[in-house]
Symmetry: D2
Subunit: 237 residues, 4 copies
């Protein structure tokens, strides 16, 4: 029997990307410049991209696309897939046997909270070591029990789509996500924490870890766009 593995590692790998700051500027200039001059336009796009971000001309940012491979638990993917402007292909519990890899929070993950729903503040460093022990204990007990029953049902010939009903939402899954830069900025805007009084956001820490990794890829591929997004207060155009 396979023993469960517990890990806190959430990963994003960039598989491919198309376009960059210059492409965004090129697409935007079609509005105003004769076709022939479009490709040849050279030099700094900072002003134009800042203008697009500020005046909510969002469509030029859709010409930059990314394909990511994400490894995270089901409860993260549940939140991720609420974002409808992206393309998803995920591991299937109907078509394959799921591996016994389960998520546990690492030592930096705040476990208790105060405040009201949607605007929690987590208590960092103030809780006793026992909290983390308690969480790990509960996760191990329930994941081990669940996976044992999962394997037992499979060994009896029960359909995978039925057997998987026992599995918890912290089991790892993986997916390919293709998303354009505009939609990605919307994702980042909502899934990274912001105390901005105009645009507050209080994402669950686990999806924020995924978002932070995606943001580094946006920053690398389209640095002018990313800088304008940050300067604009992390609001998507």
């Amino acid at each position: 029997m396979t023993a469960p593995t517990f890990t806190s590692t959430l990963t994003v790998e960039v598989i491919d990307h198309m376009g960059n700051d210059a492409r965004i500027a090129q697409a935007a200039r079609v509005s105003t410049i004769a076709a022939a001059s479009l490709a040849e336009h050279d030099g700094d796009n900072t002003g134009l991209i800042g203008y697009l971000m500020r005046d909510r001309h969002g469509s030029p940012f859709e010409h930059v696309t990314f394909t990511f491979y994400v490894h995270a638990p089901i409860f993260v993917f549940r939140e991720f897939m609420r974002h409808r402007i992206a393309s998803y292909n995920e591991e299937s519990g109907r078509y394959s046997q799921l591996a016994p890899v389960f998520y546990v929070p690492d030592e930096n993950r705040k476990l208790t909270q105060t405040g009201k729903p949607g605007a929690y503040e987590f208590l960092h460093g103030e809780y006793p070591k026992d909290d983390r022990f308690d969480v790990l204990y509960s996760l191990e007990v329930s994941c081990q029990t669940a996976y044992t029953e999962y394997l037992r049902l499979l060994s009896l010939g029960i359909a995978r789509e039925v057997a998987r009903m026992v599995l918890p939402v912290n089991i790892f899954s993986s997916m390919y996500v293709t998303i354009n830069a505009r939609s990605l900025m919307n994702f980042l805007s909502l899934r990274t924490k912001s105390d901005d009084s105009t645009y507050p956001s209080y994402p669950q820490r686990e999806i924020e870890i995924i978002a932070e990794q995606m943001e580094t890829h946006l920053q690398r591929v389209a640095p002018v766009t990313h800088a304008a997004f940050v300067k604009r207060g992390r609001v998507a155009p």
Copy 2:
């Protein structure tokens, strides 16, 4: 401590709807008829709606909308939300404590399968009674363990969004779904079983139960549309 409840009941309630066959025909006629005559057109829409379905003029069907309230386990909602052309609001495990209600298959649910992924055939009536007993036993063991640990963590002050990680995908949730008739027909086409050699579909039985209930509402609200959909081989326009 709250004792877990196990149920096989999956429900769809229609909260509201807008439009009907006449509206679909009215919207389609804008293509060809002077505006003034649109509202007054009377009589049978069967021919026109059949033509729209056959020639893939799908947009007129988007003017009929439904709001449903669905009660089903998480593994069903995971599949449901892959359909991006709909509006969802679901119970939150971050904002509220989840109730201990868990899904178990009823006696008609086939539990073992043969065939290859994507085209399973379930063995009905040929498996021993033990299969069902085994599944119920495993579900109860894992759900009870999980929910006990969930409550223990909450009682220790652990955040709901952390504690819920122990819970299995057969725990019930509920959501409001607003969807138009075109998108609903696409959902039905993929989420009800079809052995049609041109358009086969092999949905998991649980989402099919939800789909079947939605289909009765489509049939009641827009009977001519539903009949044309069936006649066309259950392919969305």
Copy 3:
């Protein structure tokens, strides 16, 4: 031969709508309240809807839908249909002969502009009467010529889809639009003028006239939502 008609009247008729403020609140409460209590919740939704608007919980607003019938020239519909989250059915120049009804600006429409693209300021009341005369003259000359040629080609048996190529973008068309309240607020945010330094928008006056009419319907059907949208600075959640 049919003589062209010139008009400045742009109209929006509401054909149907579904949902209201209470529905939005009901859908939002599914996140936090046990299912049984949802429908019974009574009283004021102002606080909840203001919170949804402020914290960008946009999905509950998608459960309110409208079907509009819009009568406006092609250049307005060209801008309208850039909004992809709506359902459209429009009069077809392939399937029917277009009526000779053409748009002309009324006396309140500012005709000359200063400033840079995207942020024009129109000169109101300062231009000579001749400007309006000049515009009307040019529109009449070109529309009459175009429509005469259109009829001539049709009378020769030329296909409608070919003959219509001569027609100008100020010819009137009509369409049915179904759109939800969230998407409608996005439309209003971009298609009504705002000098707000954070969210400026400089729509063409003609689409703004359409937007203003739609806004009265939103305000009537979902007054709490509309008030929260205005209070929030006319930014869609």
Copy 4:
């Protein structure tokens, strides 16, 4: 004064693309294969891609994206933008002065039609030479008149967004389009002619010319996908 130019040339230039058949297969295999083995899978994807197409597993095809630059008249773009799952940036008649380039049908374009709306048959080679002469004559008269008035209004200081109202729908425009392979196949399915009794389509010839050019790019970038699309009867998955 600039003299109008008349042309029959409709062009599609591929600016960039991301992904190919192997990427589609890789994304599909995430359903069934352990993550580690995904990238290494080698060899023929014909069977898998054929299966995806046949069983309507459409999402893997969304990981292939194209950016096109299209040069065509407004009446073509009007039809194109009805396809909502794509990203558009088009030349603006508000922000820039439009060039006097107008579309005229070439000698292969059938100009008269028989049959009923939605299923016209064009009479090829049977019409007298005069038909083409008549069409060219009407287009030149109306385009020249319109463009003369357009320039006159601009010279008087009338806003571009007002002056452009006189221009006909056969004036050329240009746009960037980013679209994924699944959505592109849907576009091809509806915008190339098919007499297939199950999936008939009767596009206007001008958008079909654009579609045919796009199809060559799909075929070059993802030949196995394109072959499966054709074999399946040109229906998008």
